[in-house]
């Protein structure tokens, strides 16, 4: 068994821009990436976190064949996975057949190729002999993952997870577990999701889209803003060699709220269990957690439930925490990937990211997130939470890497 799961590469794309550098800049400047929807026509007055590049522009950046149809989910995933892969130095080994290392890709998505399928379906429903079949090739969630694997030249274990908004955290957890038990040496893990009309209408039908910028953990919060993006990590066994180490995956746990298909329980049972089990696994004391990137969607239900879980675990000593969804919107299946990258940046560079649009603590909970960007000398461990429909809750813990602990 491998006890240490090293984080050796990160890649991300969100409304803040393409790449890690633009995220750091955006997060530090406290400027939101959320703006009125422009990608497609809808009757909803929605503010969203769009990636400000068209599909054609991304195809150009990635040097992909122009005649092929790619879902936006695939394109965003390719951007982030490629950045993480290059960052880890793995791409340099491609011609050498990766030195025989077992490399896998575990991606996550909730909408898959829906952005393309819904265009197909509009034509198809009027005449079932119409509609370009090529547009359907990317519909299944697994297709985006397979295209990313082919692009990176990964021929080992490849799979896709879909547990709504906790999807990417589960992908990261599985990658860590596969390395722990020696089934993989290296795992590229994360998630990707694009905005589409289906999800805009879905969340609107649930009445949880806020027409204003979302206000996570604020007493006046009235819903979420949808976003899009992708976030990937490269995890490596400590038995493989690497130059750069951002930190280690020290804890992970998945639990189910088993309360309601879409709503979270008032006492935050699923969130409590996920965080509690992850902390127990890491062997850390509560006071060794220096930052929590909460799920914090901005819906009245999620934030109250997650807040209750935080108090159940940490009592009056809740560590500095924030939701970064005020910057990016809720990127659904990608959220765990994006926010894991944000949490690793917090750990590695010593930043506590601010929670935008917060003014008043939720009644009865008295929880105040960090509202300005803080710089810390030393960060020990950070938690990132992702919760989804179906009661799926997953928490991950990343800890700073102590090179001495690896000697002998």
């Amino acid at each position: 068994m491998n006890d240490e799961i090293l984080i050796t590469g990160i890649g991300v794309v969100t409304a803040l821009g393409i790449g890690v550098e633009s995220q750091i800049e955006g997060l530090k400047s406290e400027k939101s990436g959320i703006a009125p929807l422009s990608l497609f026509k809808t009757s909803h007055d929605a503010k969203v976190g769009e990636v400000k590049y068209s599909n054609d522009e991304i195809i150009e950046i990635l040097d992909l064949p122009k005649q092929k149809i790619f879902s936006r989910t695939t394109l965003l995933g390719l951007l982030a996975a490629k950045e993480a892969f290059d960052d880890s130095g793995l791409s340099g080994l491609k011609d050498n057949n990766y030195k025989g290392l077992k490399i896998g890709l575990i991606s996550a998505t909730s909408v898959g190729g829906m952005d393309v399928s819904e265009k197909f379906y509009k034509v198809f429903r009027d005449d079932t002999s119409k509609g370009r079949l090529r547009e359907l090739i990317g519909h299944d969630c697994g297709t985006s993952t397979q295209i990313i694997a082919d692009y990176l030249g990964i021929t080992g274990f490849v799979t896709t997870i879909s547990t709504a908004c906790s999807s990417a955290n589960n992908a990261i957890m599985l990658g860590a577990r596969m390395i722990k038990y020696g089934m993989l040496d290296i795992a590229v893990v994360g998630g990707t999701d694009a905005l589409c009309n289906f999800t805009i209408n879905g969340f609107s039908s649930l009445g949880i889209l806020d027409k204003e910028p979302c206000r996570p953990f604020d007493d006046s919060r009235a819903g979420l803003n949808l976003g899009e993006g992708a976030g990937f990590l490269v995890l490596q066994s400590s038995k493989t060699s690497t130059d750069k180490i951002y930190g280690v995956v020290s804890g992970y746990a998945n639990a189910n709220d088993a309360f309601h298909q879409t709503a979270s329980s008032a006492e935050g049972e699923g969130a409590y269990l996920a965080m509690k089990k992850a902390i127990t696994m890491s062997g850390l004391r509560n006071d060794q957690i220096d930052y929590i990137n909460v799920h914090g969607t901005g819906t009245p239900n999620n934030d109250a439930s997650e807040g209750a879980a935080l108090i159940r675990i940490f009592g009056k000593e809740v560590p500095p925490f924030s939701s970064t969804k005020g910057y990016t919107g809720h990127t659904l299946g990608a959220a765990g990937g994006v926010e894991s990258v944000f949490s690793i940046l917090s750990l590695y560079y010593g930043y506590i990211w601010p929670n935008l649009n917060f003014t008043t603590p939720m009644e009865g909970l008295g929880l105040t997130p960090e509202t300005s960007c803080l710089k810390r000398e030393k960060m020990r461990s950070v938690i990132t939470n992702s919760f989804g429909f179906g009661g799926n809750c997953t928490s991950l813990i990343f800890s700073s890497y102590n090179r001495k602990s690896n000697v002998g």
Binding site: T42, S43, H44, T109, S110, G112, E118, Y121, K122, R125, T128, S129, L133, L136, D140, C141, G142, T143, T145, Q146, A149, T155, G156, F157, V158, T159, T160, I161, S162, T163, A164, N170, L174, R177, Y181, M183, N197, F198, N201, G202, S204, S205, L206, N254, A255, N256, D257, A258, F259, H260, Q261, T262, E269, G270, L273, G388, F389, G390, G391, N392
Partner: protein, 299 residues
């Protein structure tokens, strides 16, 4: 492969395609028995009903009370709810939409519903990787069962065929070579061998879509029967001369047909006493190739 052995201690399944061919006890059951609330039953689309009922059957038949996880695999996900919600967007010009089909369109709905109905707050995961979704769910369960505190995991593979899916695959020419299928099969995987244990899992592997790597050797070459879902077994070699059964002639073509094949393999152990080791080989359309080997429990 892994230190702790993993057993299949309970199986259950619904296979409408097999039932249509006249096989008894494999069709859709009276759902009232599994979902007594008529409102809840009505809201569930067919795949949710099939999934939830077969999952509960798998738990009930063998009196398994505590679960450490629920893991599902589905290649196509909840197609009819997805289509229903898409249609409602167009029909109602995006206004006053009923959220039920949107909520139920996410692929993890079945795993979530089973957790809700059984009150299980433990591990819950869903795989959606085409023709190897069920295999990935099994691999996740094998790994999770290596942990000390983990004893029983419910694992299922399920897909529904809808008129639209069948029509579209027909337009793509898929039905020229094979016939449409669907089904839902669940298993209790356990780290404990019990009297009720049916099989032990020897290996579960998935490969890139190109097929087997050069020089590949099976984890176990003493195979008594091959359940095949491929046109051609290619490089696969065994030390024995096993009978090859094309399992898709029974269940039809769908991404998680290997969950049916695993059910069939376990059923074979129950019925044929000279069969001890079974290899399942499959490839769904152009997806990845997968291999599952199981042997009779206690061998």
């Amino acid at each position: 492969m892994l230190d702790r052995k993993v057993y299949i201690n309970s199986i259950a399944g619904i296979s409408p395609s097999m039932a249509a061919k006249g096989f008894p006890d494999v069709g859709e059951p009276d759902y009232k028995e599994y979902v007594p609330d008529p409102g809840a039953r009505r809201r569930m689309s067919r795949i949710i009903r099939m999934g939830v009922a077969s999952a509960l059957m798998c738990l009930k038949d063998n009196h398994i009370n505590s679960l450490d996880g629920i893991i599902t695999g589905t290649g196509w996900g909840c197609l009819s709810d997805t289509e229903k919600f898409l249609n409602s967007i167009f029909e109602n010009s995006e206004r006053m939409l009923n959220p039920t089909s949107f909520i139920q369109s996410t692929s993890n709905t079945i795993g979530a519903q089973v957790a809700l109905l059984t009150g299980e707050k433990n591990y819950n995961n869903t795989f959606v990787h085409g023709g190897t979704s069920f295999e990935a769910a099994m691999i996740d369960a094998l790994l999770k069962l290596q942990e000390d505190s983990c004893d029983n995991i419910l694992v299922g593979g399920l897909d529904e065929m809808t008129p639209t899916k069948s029509h579209l695959l027909g337009r793509m020419g898929v039905w020229r070579h094979t016939s449409p299928g669907e089904g839902s099969h669940f298993f209790v995987l356990s780290s404990a061998k019990e009297m009720s244990s049916i099989a032990e899992i020897v290996s579960v592997e998935t490969f890139s879509s190109a097929g087997l790597p050069a020089g590949y050797k099976l984890e176990c070459t003493q195979i008594d029967r091959i359940l095949s879902g491929v046109d051609n077994l290619g490089e696969l070699t065994t030390d024995t001369k096993p009978q090859v059964v094309n399992f898709k002639e029974l269940c039809g073509e769908y991404p998680t047909s290997t969950a049916f094949a695993l059910w069939l393999a376990c059923d074979t152990f129950n019925k044929e006493h000279d069969i001890d080791r079974i290899l399942i080989v499959n490839k769904h359309l152009r997806d990845q190739l997968s291999l599952i080997i199981i042997k009779r429990a206690g061998l």
